[in-house]
């Protein structure tokens, strides 16, 4: 997968991996993340880094809900430097979400990924990532998951 280095407008190789003990220490000591990630350790947490690099560009905490054949996103946070109009890397959250779609296929869930969002920004997830509303939740599955994978991970 590739994320966009905004200053040079070049795509750079990135990887998503499970968080390890050293990574947690880095996150706790970093000013780049403002959510309380210690509370997310009960979930499965992946990090996105540039290939061969240790700097974490974004994090995602997920729950594998086997009985409902879905991956549920609890939290995604881009590193501080990858937010807003002056962000250094773009596509971080998109790559994280697309990777979750891959995992949801891997686990035989037909690409089903769900999340729960603030009402004010629901339409932004539906427009940008093709999520659909289902009750209070948003979800993506099947062909839309494949399109998200194609967009961010090709």
């Amino acid at each position: 997968m590739k994320i966009l280095h905004k200053p040079s407008e070049t795509l750079q190789d990135a990887v998503i991996e499970l968080m390890e003990n050293d990574d947690w220490e880095r996150v706790y000591q970093s000013d780049e993340f403002e959510f309380d990630w210690a509370k997310e350790r009960k979930w499965t947490v992946y990090k996105l880094t540039l290939e061969g690099d240790t700097i974490i560009q974004g994090l995602v905490a997920i729950e594998d809900i086997v009985r409902e054949s879905r991956i549920h996103v609890h939290l995604i946070e881009n590193a501080l430097s990858n937010r807003g109009k002056d962000k250094i890397y773009d596509y971080v959250a998109g790559c994280l979400l697309a990777s979750l779609c891959e995992i949801a296929f891997d686990k035989r869930y037909e690409g089903f990924v769900s999340l729960h969002s603030k009402t004010e920004i629901i339409s932004l997830y539906t427009n940008k990532y093709r999520f659909r509303e289902m009750g209070q939740n948003l979800f993506i599955m099947g062909e839309n998951s494949l399109l998200l994978i194609e967009k961010y991970l090709r």
């Binding site: 995604i76 037909e110 009750g135």
Partner: protein
């Protein structure tokens, strides 16, 4: 964490679009009834998937398990033989049927499934075509090569057996 408070803080610094581009965090806590309703709707979607779509999505799932295995993700580690068995299960084929489809001897397929033979280039191409190109030949090839590499590094028995077949081995470098 008080997500409402955090959301208000973020809105002071970022537009709503910028927040959606950089974060996912929950809205107001759901009631057990709302959760149950979502589970019901989810299973409704699951039950409405056609058999053709289900096979396609299961094959795509297999492709990503193979990809994640190649990437060394612990949670997806498996053998080529097991991946091939999954392919047979997903496509509802019998071993003989798949061997016929691929124009290979059933005993060859059986040996591959038992881990006694590796998938070669020809079979990788045929499996790619058989899957409607959903699973690239390179995935089968790379996984098979990874196993051969592992075998070469660890298989003492085969190394000694093959060594006995060699005549006039150069003494240079032998310790």
């Amino acid at each position: 964490m008080d997500y409402d408070k955090k959301f208000e803080e973020l809105k002071q610094r970022y537009t709503l679009e910028e927040i959606a581009e950089s974060f996912v965090f929950p809205g107001k806590e759901q009631t057990p009834e709302e959760r149950a309703e979502f589970a019901r709707l989810r299973m409704e979607h699951w039950n409405n998937t056609s058999p053709e779509k289900r096979m396609k999505y299961q094959l795509i799932g297999l492709k990503y398990r193979m990809k994640h295995c190649m990437e060394g993700r612990k949670e997806s580690m498996d053998t080529t033989a097991n991946f091939l068995q999954q392919y047979i299960d997903i496509t509802n084929k019998k071993q003989k049927g798949l061997a016929d489809d691929l124009s290979i001897n059933p005993s060859t397929l059986s040996r591959i499934l038992n881990g006694k033979e590796s998938i070669g280039k020809s079979l990788a191409y045929r499996l790619e075509r058989h899957s409607g190109k959903l699973i690239p030949a390179i995935y089968w090839w790379k996984l098979a090569q990874k196993e051969i590499e592992q075998d070469i590094m660890t298989n003492v028995v085969d190394r000694e057996r093959e060594a006995k077949m060699v005549k006039n081995a150069l003494l240079v470098g032998v310790t």
